[in-house]
């Protein structure tokens, strides 16, 4: 960022220092509580809160796997979020390519409809969707309700509108000459898409994938209604620790940390792409 050649005034510098310090504190305290409590013995989290643990233990990290079937929830979440991400990205790439590169009747209706689904309150279609899945199951034998498949289908549509919207912007910023040249060279439209447009739009696609994964990994409402004991995901499974008579806060914090690590690590590694993707795509 090439800004003014002169140095920022001191009012800017000290207000920045104060603001960023306070903000760092606000952001860090819960993170600190999560990490430190997960290493505390049970007595430390049942009595008065203490900033420093009386002793460090990794016991909670061992116990979390047996208190609730965390490994199974973990596997379910991985399958559901992974599959939803892959499907959502592929479908969004196709749709965004069509909107970005072709003019056709109904284009505006399509984009407006897809985007407006973002404003539907989830609660409006929770029950109808539930009934629909049950009915489809009864009619065709395809078990959608209670299955991972049904959840994958649901989640991928959650991230689809934003993904399509962001990719349209991103594809628009890829020069058309590139894929026209590919078309002239004898590539089909799909060849042009996969050999030219997609490689040029990788940051945008990665950003969309990160977003889709996070959406699926963190959703609570539909997971709580649409899963059963074998297909339960982490979002619902974690509540298992607090329904017990004794609330094992150290285990809850340990489990929260464990389930957060994959997404937070992935997000931080790929955040550069996300900012780049947003810059080129959505924020124009």
């Amino acid at each position: 960022m090439s800004k003014s050649p002169m140095a920022p005034p001191s009012s800017f510098l000290w207000s920045r220092r104060v603001f960023l310090t306070l903000l760092t504190g606000f952001v860090l305290v819960p993170v600190y509580v999560m990490v430190s409590s997960s290493l505390k013995p049970l007595a430390d989290v049942t009595g008065k809160f203490r900033w420093l643990p009386s002793g460090l233990t990794i016991r909670p990290y061992i116990d979390i796997w047996s208190t609730v079937p965390l490994a199974r929830y973990f596997a379910n979440s991985l399958i559901v979020a992974g599959a939803a991400t892959v499907c959502s990205v592929v479908i969004a790439v196709f749709a965004a390519y069509a909107v970005s590169r072709y003019s056709f009747r109904g284009k505006r209706v399509f984009t407006v409809t897809v985007l407006s689904t973002q404003m539907f309150p989830g609660i409006l279609f929770l029950l109808p969707l539930f009934l629909l899945y049950v009915n489809i199951g009864n009619a065709t034998g395809i078990a959608l309700f209670g299955s991972r498949g049904g959840l994958i289908l649901t989640y991928l549509t959650f991230s689809l509108p934003f993904s399509i919207w962001m990719l349209i912007g991103y594809f628009d910023s890829v020069p058309r000459d590139l894929d026209e040249a590919a078309l002239v060279d004898g590539c089909g439209p799909l060849g042009a898409l996969f050999r030219v447009v997609v490689p040029a739009a990788i940051p945008g696609i990665v950003a969309v994938a990160v977003y889709a994964f996070m959406t699926a990994w963190g959703e609570v409402l539909f997971a709580s209604v649409m899963t059963n004991d074998t297909t339960r995901t982490l979002a619902v499974g974690l509540q298992g620790y607090s329904t017990l008579n004794d609330v094992y806060w150290n285990q809850i914090m340990a489990a929260s940390l464990v389930v957060s690590v994959p997404v937070v690590a992935g997000f931080l590694l790929l955040q550069r792409y996300l900012v780049a993707g947003l810059t080129a795509g959505a924020v124009k």
Binding site: V27, P121, T157, G169, R176, L234, L238, M253, L257
Partner: protein, 329 residues
């Protein structure tokens, strides 16, 4: 989303257009079906998961759908506008509670969106030029957004505990600001608890978007302003903030819709029944449907909520896009 310059690149250009246009047009006719084919998967899924259920939901809102009919909802008797009458009869308990929940949600949303936007924008502008530790700070600031909702909110539930939570420990034991430890997750305080969690979780998104928006402001603008003698604060007021307008238009709308419809945060924070002071509309409707098993009324409330959001969005877009083409999206 306003840049549409690349969409029809050849139409206006006099030179190359003449030779290329005819060939492209025949190609386009031959492949007229292709765009539809590409859109088909997205279309089918949106229909299946969003639009068809929405239509079913609207139909359900005209039925007297209690637990007796849930197995075969088609047989539930029609009630016409009955469910809507119950929902908006603000003198009766059901309507009164809905209106209260609506006002709570409006207040909560305005405060949360305002704070998220303010903090996010300030942080993005302060971190625009490089300083030591900027990259680390940026990564740290994105952590609340990256954390799964339930993990983040559960941590706040722990911090808000009456006996063993951090908040009471700091406010009561260490700073002596309160006479006795407060309850945060029940009673009137729950509103502030919810607001705190929502802002903590939501501001990094504003930060991320504004940060991306800042990178699209041409550096020459600042250089020109500096040559004219504009100081840092003036540059921020005269160049940075006006240039962010189009970004803010979308950002505020998205934040508004997400916050207004948020279910996950209050649900994990309070469980199935939210305290009155923090009775957000989506949890309220969830309760009206799944706890009292009255799905018809719940659907009518959802439809009213959707209508409200449609009107707000429409008015907002009409007011903010004067002179701009929001078209194409």
């Amino acid at each position: 989303m306003t840049t549409t310059t690349l969409k029809e690149p050849l139409r206006g250009s006099p030179a190359g257009a003449a030779t290329r246009e005819p060939r492209r047009r025949t190609g386009r006719i031959r492949r007229a079906g292709l765009p539809y084919l590409l859109l088909l998967p997205a279309l089918i899924l949106e229909l299946l998961v969003h639009l068809v259920p929405m239509v079913i939901g609207i139909v359900m809102s005209f039925k007297e759908l209690t637990q007796f009919y849930i197995r075969d909802w088609g047989t539930a008797p029609w009630t016409g506008l009955g469910n809507y009458k119950v929902s908006v009869d603000f003198d009766a308990p059901v309507g009164e509670a809905l209106l209260h929940s609506f006002f709570v949600t409006v207040a909560f949303t305005l405060l949360s969106v305002g704070l998220c936007w303010l903090i996010g924008t300030a942080a993005a502008i302060y971190m625009q030029d490089t300083f030591t530790g900027r990259g680390l700070l940026r990564a740290l600031f994105l952590v609340p957004y990256a954390l799964p909702v339930y993990a983040a909110v559960i941590t706040w539930v722990f911090m808000f505990q009456h006996d063993n939570g951090l908040v009471n420990h700091v406010l009561h034991d260490q700073l002596h600001l309160t006479d006795k430890p407060s309850f945060w997750l029940i009673g009137d305080n729950s509103f502030y608890a919810l607001l705190t969690v929502s802002v903590w979780k939501g501001w990094p998104f504003a930060f991320l978007i504004v940060m991306a928006g800042l990178q699209n402001i041409p550096g020459e603008l600042y250089e020109a302003a500096a040559l004219d003698g504009a100081g840092m604060w003036q540059q921020i007021r005269r160049i940075t903030l006006p240039s962010l307008r189009p970004v803010n238009q979308v950002l505020l709308l998205v934040l508004f819709l997400w916050t207004f419809n948020d279910f996950n945060t209050p649900y994990v924070l309070f469980g199935k029944s939210a305290p009155e002071a923090a009775d957000l509309i989506s949890v309220h409707i969830y309760q009206a449907s799944f706890v009292t098993w009255n799905f018809g009324t719940g659907s009518a409330m959802s439809v009213l909520l959707l209508l409200f959001l449609l009107v707000v969005t429409g008015v907002y877009l009409a007011l903010t896009s004067r002179g701009r083409r929001t078209g194409d999206v």
